[in-house]
């Protein structure tokens, strides 16, 4: 690191402690929610487990909201940790975000387990207000309030990140590399990919949170005063804009772990190039505009939006994915890389990200969507994307930082068990979708139940693999010297 880089970087003593908290809490919650997921799949199978539709939908809401929130926090930890190498971030704000998020989690979990709220994590208007007596207005208000608090928590840390980026790079556009992309400045090979990715995440997530701040308050107002009825389609658009952007941003945050850690293994630098910058600019714009592909079933949507959703589904994500996957493979090829838990998980994440997009592209076609949208094909896509894309990035990051990736045989076997279990789980969803098994059904037809059993079994394997990787990390985490990453490569 040069002297000027050190001047801007966050001091090492401030970088590590809160990241440990994020990772520790994140890994524990991930494992717990995996158990909930396996239980749901078992309830859809032929096993004797019967939880009843009411509990099923509560668990579905808990699993969805919990996984999205935890994915957001874990990806934020990756993003914050690596961005803090280049800009001076405020550790107190980062901690404040965690504390506010935990309060939000208590509100969300309380509304589900005590208040029996079960409208799904998408809180699709007007469902929270039309519970047919299954949950109270207070439970719905607490759930929506929890999501609002989570949004505020993320906004705080994003503002801090944005200000720190502007202080060092002059503007978000410069951090995104636009002057280099458009030839106004020469390509600077030392410009960190982590900063480019952070700038993209900032732009899209602040826009998403702004939409969330509106739609959540409108939902609250409708709950308090039902005659105030906003347009349902506009509300759905805002909800999906918020939700789509938020969950997409998790993978664009977490991929920073690949950019930062894989080069240390391969002993080759990951430098920015014009295609790399162009890909990140393209994905910044497309992530904001692609969300109508969630609303292809809504006949009242303007046709141009549905067509835009379909076309952008083909292209959104692919530029960055191609650039990242291709560069990643080139980086690894004949590099004499050391295969341990961390490096295996990071390369696995590229596979998961690449393959996980394919079902989404297929489902993003209007005619296919009319048949596939309400089947388990869609959970197949997002489980592939998150379970084999995002989570290995987070686990690889945690493994590298806590144990330098050297988790021995247990870590390597754990990564393998995880990969096999997760692939099997995703295939069980995708095959179910291909066989037209509907999603969000608490109880399945007898002929579908074997797929539920396969799903539950593979969910159990994923949980075992996760624990094999995560438990040693959790044991080492309190004493781990996370900041050693820069020297250990």
């Amino acid at each position: 690191m040069t002297a000027s880089e050190l001047e801007y970087a966050t001091p090492d003593t401030q970088r590590t402690p809160v990241v440990k908290l994020y990772l520790g809490i994140g890994l524990l919650v991930f494992a717990g929610l995996m158990l909930v997921g396996a239980l749901m799949r078992a309830a859809q199978g032929a096993t004797t487990i019967s939880i009843g539709p009411e509990v099923f939908y509560q668990l579905m809401t808990l699993h969805g909201a919990g996984m999205v929130g935890t994915a957001g926090l874990a990806a934020l930890a990756v993003n914050w940790y690596f961005l803090s190498k280049y800009v001076r971030l405020n550790q107190k704000i980062f901690l404040g975000t965690l504390v506010l998020s935990l309060v939000a989690v208590v509100m969300i979990v309380g509304s589900i387990l005590i208040g029996k709220f079960a409208a799904g994590w998408t809180f699709l208007y007007p469902l929270p207000a039309t519970s047919l007596g299954l949950w109270s207005k207070g439970a719905a208000l607490t759930f929506v309030g929890g999501l609002l608090l989570l949004g505020v928590a993320f906004l705080l840390v994003y503002l801090d990140m944005g200000i720190a980026i502007v202080r060092r790079y002059g503007s978000i556009a410069r951090a995104l590399g636009l002057p280099m992309l458009f030839g106004r400045e020469p390509i600077d090979p030392t410009h960190p990919p982590a900063v480019v990715a952070s700038a993209m995440v900032l732009i899209v997530n602040v826009a998403g949170i702004a939409a969330g701040a509106i739609v959540l308050i409108m939902t609250i107002l409708h709950l308090i005063y039902p005659p105030l009825a906003p347009d349902a389609l506009l509300m759905k658009n805002l909800i999906y804009f918020f939700g789509h952007v938020f969950i997409n941003a998790t993978i664009y945050s977490a991929v920073i772990a690949v950019y930062e850690i894989l080069p240390l293994y391969a002993r080759r630098p990951w430098t920015v190039s014009r295609p790399f910058l162009a890909a990140w600019l393209a994905v910044t714009l497309m992530v904001l505009a692609v969300y109508p592909h969630h609303l292809l079933m809504d006949f009242a949507m303007p046709s141009w939006m549905a067509i835009m959703g379909q076309i952008l589904s083909y292209t959104s994500g692919i530029p960055v994915l191609v650039v990242t996957a291709f560069s990643g493979l080139m980086l690894v090829y004949r590099s004499g890389i050391r295969w341990d838990a961390a490096s295996s998980l990071l390369v696995l994440s590229l596979f998961g990200w690449a393959v996980g997009i394919v079902p989404a592209v297929i489902d993003g076609m209007i005619n296919v969507n009319l048949v596939m949208h309400n089947t388990l094909w869609v959970p197949g896509h997002f489980h592939f994307y998150l379970l084999l894309g995002l989570l290995p990035m987070v686990l690889g990051f945690a493994s590298y930082l806590s144990a330098n990736g050297q988790q021995g045989r247990t870590g390597r076997v754990g990564a393998m068990v995880y990969a096999v279990g997760a692939t099997l789980l995703c295939l069980s969803f995708l095959v179910s979708g291909a066989l037209s098994v509907p999603r969000r059904f608490a109880v399945h037809e007898e002929s579908w139940q074997w797929l539920g059993d396969v799903g539950a079994l593979s969910g159990g394997i994923v949980l075992v693999g996760t624990l094999m990787i995560a438990v040693p990390i959790l044991l080492k985490l309190p004493r781990a010297r996370l900041a050693s990453i820069s020297e250990s490569g």
């Binding site: 502007v166 790079y169 503007s171 600077d188 005659p227 009825a229």
Partner: protein, 197 residues
């Protein structure tokens, strides 16, 4: 000294708007439509209070002692903003002289001055949250005025209410576009820090 004379303007401006808000002829001009009331008079009154705080060194010195962090001012200002966002209070101010007096006297002080002081004292993150929340309030309020099934004020008809809603949404749209340009390409000044390392 001309400069000294300029220093007295904020106070004079505030007093002028307050008096104008109380004299029936001029008050009627501001209160004739919901748009003028909510989008012209209220911001003008708040602006006067804010301008006063930013110019008066004596007031700043007092506030520095009374509320150094700006936290109390933020709570007071936000609370008073919510109070005046309720259509009932806006409505009352058009025909109840005591509520009109309350508005004219307190909006500059308890809304404009307090929010300006807290803005000055907050860090950049706090300011960002204030801006974002302010923008979200514009959208929510505009949306509510636009879709409300009932006439919210007895003195302003539902058409007036819906026009106000549309204007608030338009304002939010323009400010979002400007904020996006400023947020991505700003702060539009060359510093030594924005040179490549």
């Amino acid at each position: 000294m001309p400069a000294e004379r300029w220093r007295q303007w904020p106070l004079a401006l505030t007093l002028a708007f307050c008096v104008a808000g109380l004299i029936p002829v001029t008050a009627r001009l501001f209160e004739a439509s919901m748009q003028a009331h909510l989008l012209v008079q209220m911001p003008l009154l708040a602006f006067c209070g804010g301008y006063w705080v930013s110019r008066s060194e004596r007031l700043q010195a007092w506030l520095e002692r009374a509320d150094p962090s700006g936290g109390v001012a933020l709570v007071l200002g936000s609370g008073w903003l919510i109070y005046w966002m309720l259509p009932l209070n806006l409505d009352l101010a058009t025909f109840d002289p005591s509520v009109r007096l309350l508005k004219v006297l307190t909006v500059p002080v308890l809304l404009g001055a307090t929010l300006t002081w807290s803005w000055r004292q907050l860090g950049p993150v706090g300011r960002g949250v204030m801006l974002m929340e302010g923008w979200a309030i514009l959208v929510r309020l505009g949306w509510i005025y636009l879709i409300s099934p009932v006439q919210l004020c007895s003195n302003y008809l539902i058409g007036d209410q819906q026009r106000t809603g549309s204007l608030l949404l338009g304002l939010a749209l323009i400010s979002a576009a400007l904020a996006a340009i400023w947020g991505v390409f700003g702060p539009f000044r060359k510093t030594d820090r924005c040179q490549p390392e």
